[in-house]
Point group: C2
Chain length 577, copies 2
């Protein structure tokens, strides 16, 4: 009994593309000799489809795409995630396909409704567990929270009867989530005494990156297989190898094999009359097939590259443009863009002002050169002067204030958008999470663009990622040492540095992590010792810049709680702790 | 038995302010001789509080604010909406206060999870109905969907036992919703055979406007009282007037009055042992107290004014600035701003370019003059020329393209934002729903600002509102006739009109209404006759500008489905019908 887990990258709404993708991986599974192939949650429509699934005609088109997939499913059982409309209800479902026919359905039971999830808005929960019996081996189906969630109701009815539980997931990435998953799923396999085959999708979708990392555990909780992160993969697992039922690679199963789909009801009864208890399943003697985990920095860097690549590709852009200042954030963004898309697709524009130092101007040019990207210089002084002239009746004689600083940032945003309009390049913004959190950004200025690469990357991690990327070379790497060592500055006023306005980034990032990601009370940010006034000031800045973040572009989430759907706060909000 | 419905305007997160507001209206109810005063849903924290209610410390502060309110509740029963944390669960609850004590709780049973609502993300549903017995009269409590929703489970347990059902609501406005509510609630009162007292909040909160319009129906479904829309009000109703138990205004009830809170369980049993069936209640012979409904245009105009006023006030701004072009959208926005805030608080800036006609420049000045608002002119030609010079290597020789058009719009956005930064004025944007829908707007240009007044107002309605406002005067009204009659144009290129790019607005608005608001399939837009190619083009423009709308500011929703939380679609979305 060989099960193939197809860790694929669907595109939201691209129903015919997703059907073709699914059919292609069915074929790979057939070639690999699989008896069963399992796809991620909602692979037919992509995840999350949001309000698209409230449209009847969209659901009808999903059904059509599923039937196209079924046509390709000869000689094996395919389990394919898709929305299902039935009797006026909508389910997050898995179609069971055998001999080109949909022979049964599983409907997700536990619907998540927290952080960025809102499945209760869309779906009716299923009621029955489902066992698929393939040539005598019984496989129980679950979708995402049905196995992973704290309720895990579906699993109750399966563990007595199924030797294998497969789980169709679309589980978004955050830093270190791999270890969390492995511990939880190992515990599930052990406590249920079943094989657990967890197949996750991969790819970027707006703020989310799905990292793959599909996993297989034996009934003792032993990790038997792990797919790589951030790329498509087919993970194979042979259950019962000692019992001699293992198929050899390339040998197809035949249509005469018996496949039964059996519903198990909440009261424990089942449609097969009396399904006998499952036999004890020993672990196989084969050695595990484990992709090596990535280092913490490599993992984040890969997530950012995949997020950028998929946003560009899935939105049918080809090239990007970004402003390169000679500072670290734009240098790292440039590296990610080039690594994600190739140097030929990346345009970098230096837009120096009267406040730009020689050092940053040189570093901007040098970074572009080392990366081999296209590079342009557009000094903003003439435009800036014309703004100051036109606004002279309204401005102070001292032109170093916030108004004038923002004018410079907005000129740069306009220039990049002009190039975007002229050539169809998508603008990447370069702001990091630390400054996004406290609003140390200019709306319509440095925030102007289609995708915010470092939106969820705190400044202290920007430094670590820069070192990581430089270590990959060639030579000392693309980011000049002087860019890394120079004190951060927006260079919008004379002799300005970030630390004129913000606390040291080590401290700022601790506060952001505690208040935003872990949702701790400002009164309880114990890590921060005695400086309660500072905590209050930073929390006030975070609360007071919600209106800015709402007008910012999407960007790759790498924490358990990013700005966006994970954290839904009113703009009009007078609450201050 | 006199019940007061307190139709008040709380502010999200302003717990001490809301407690003071609630206490002040308790006092008004006491002066009016009420036995019971009922406040809207979640009045203590404002609605919707979104993820604030996931914070333990916020819930603790809500509890504290409620106790402050309780201190003020002498001599009557107060029913106050507030979030309640209890045994690790969070409820959307109503506190029952008597003699300065919280003597009981009702927990909302039916939690909405559609359109802009996501209460299942936050709250656990309650289980028991609650009857409050006040001096022999039994009042059943419900919150919003408990009475209004299609399930309406809570009402089942109450209708046999309570003579009056009160409902705490925060029901957002849309055009014509008043009639829908009146029909539904009349039917509820009639079928239940009880009084129905529906109290709604009022005020603006980001995209939403709550319109008040609190209602009272007698047990025969007769409308006995209607509060005005868009303003705070205390609505009084005397039940049992014929039975002689009516209290006179100003006469306080005493502490010795008996108040019992009785839980009614799902199985029909109740904590009072055997609660007798309610007596038949005839309607009173008094004449009804009905605020006159507004005309369709007056209703929308009032909603827009309240939305602007509350967004400005609750976010602690005082003054606004807007670009006035001589076109109709900005003229109407200017009227709304002045009517909402007063002419002294509104700054209007004309920013003509080489493409601005003499007619529009004159009309801009004239509109500001008629409204008595502050008016400035900043010609953008010098700045525009400096952009063209700096970008010359990248631009075509023909400078009438989209790139150059957007540069002009963005210069104007920058100038308004510079004034905003310099003087603390909030920027109002002036784009209407028709152009927002199809993306006939410039990101960071005319979309730049804090609040989008006409975001949900289609162009055909803009015309009707302009006529409505002009009819109010003085004289022929603030909007010049030439502004209304001139063909709409963005004036960003020579001899440009909107209809070069867009279909006639009558047709465009029908498509937007059908596709966006009513969610009809593009294949089924029957109203549009045979021009399927046009429908496809418009729907494609709507689908293709999701990324723009996501970076736009909030604005007043006046339809059942606005752009925003009501309509959650992915940006990365290849689905096209």
């Amino acid at each position: 009994m060989r099960i193939a887990l197809a860790q694929v990258d669907p595109t939201v709404g691209d129903l015919s593309g997703n059907a073709a993708l699914t059919a292609a991986w069915v074929e790979k599974a057939v070639v690999a000799g699989a008896d069963m192939v399992v796809f991620p949650e909602l692979v037919i429509c992509g995840y999350p489809p949001e309000d698209l699934v409230l449209r009847d005609y969209f659901l009808a088109d999903c059904r059509q795409a599923l039937l196209e997939v079924a046509e390709s499913c000869q000689n094996l059982v395919a389990v394919v995630g898709t929305p299902l409309r039935e009797d006026g209800m909508i389910y997050n479902a898995a179609a069971i396909i055998w001999n080109r026919q949909v022979v049964g359905w599983y409907r997700k039971i536990i619907l998540p409704d927290y952080a960025g999830f809102d499945e209760k808005r869309y779906f009716t929960p299923g009621e029955n567990a489902v066992v698929v019996e393939i040539g005598g081996t019984r496989v129980g189906l679950t979708i995402a929270e049905d196995l992973e969630g704290s309720g895990a109701a579906a699993v109750g009815g399966l563990s007595e009867r199924a030797e294998v539980i497969v789980n169709l997931a679309m589980s978004p990435y955050y830093r270190g989530r791999g270890r969390v998953r492995e511990e939880k799923l190992a515990e599930r396999a052990r406590s249920l005494g079943t094989w657990v085959c967890w197949v996750n999708g991969v790819g970027g979708q707006d703020d989310l990156v799905f990292d793959g990392h599909s996993l297989v555990f034996d009934p003792q909780g032993g990790l038997r297989a792990r797919a790589p992160q951030f790329e498509e993969a087919l993970l194979l697992v042979d259950v019962h190898p000692q019992a001699g039922s293992r198929l050899h690679r390339g040998l197809p199963v035949t249509e005469s094999r018996t496949v039964n789909v059996i519903a198990v009801h909440p009261d424990g009864s089942n449609d097969a009359g009396s399904l006998p208890a499952k036999p004890a399943v020993p672990p196989p003697s084969l050695s595990p097939d484990l992709a090596q985990p990535l280092s913490p920095e490599a993992e984040v860097y890969s997530a950012l590259c995949l997020g950028v690549r998929d946003y560009i590709r899935k939105n049918r852009f080809e090239q990007v443009v970004l402003g390169i200042s000679g500072g670290l954030d734009s240098a790292l963004t440039a590296c990610i863009a080039v690594d994600a898309l190739g140097a030929d697709e990346v345009h970098m524009v230096s837009m120096p002002s009267r406040y730009s130092s020689k050092g940053t101007k040189n570093d901007a040019r040098e970074t572009a050169k080392r990366l081999g990207a296209k590079y342009y210089e557009i000094p903003i002084e003439p435009i800036y002067t014309s703004y100051l002239d036109c606004l002279a009746p309204f401005l102070d004689s001292d032109t170093s204030g916030v108004t004038e600083q923002n004018i410079q940032a907005r000129i740069r945003g306009n220039l990049l958008m002009a190039l975007s309009n002229q050539f169809g390049w998508l603008v990447l913004t370069t702001g990091n999470k630390s400054e996004t959190a406290v609003g140390y950004t200019t709306l319509y200025g440095d925030m102007a663009g289609g995708f915010a690469v470092l939106k969820d990357v705190p400044k202290t991690l920007v430094y670590r990622l820069a070192d990581y990327r430089n270590a990959l070379g060639p030579g000392g790497g693309p980011i000049p040492e002087s860019t890394i060592r120079r004190p951060p500055s927006a260079e919008l006023a004379p002799d300005q540095t970030d630390q004129d306005t913000l606390p040291p980034y080590e401290l700022l990032d601790e506060i952001v992590e505690a208040y935003v990601v872990r949702d701790e009370s400002p009164d309880e940010l114990a890590v921060l010792g005695s400086d309660r006034a500072l905590v209050r000031r930073v929390v006030g800045m975070i609360d007071g810049s919600e209106h800015k973040r709402r007008q910012g572009p999407p960007g790759v989430r790498i924490s358990p709680k990013g700005f966006g759907k994970d954290r839904q706060l009113p703009i009009t909000n007078r609450y201050r702790k």
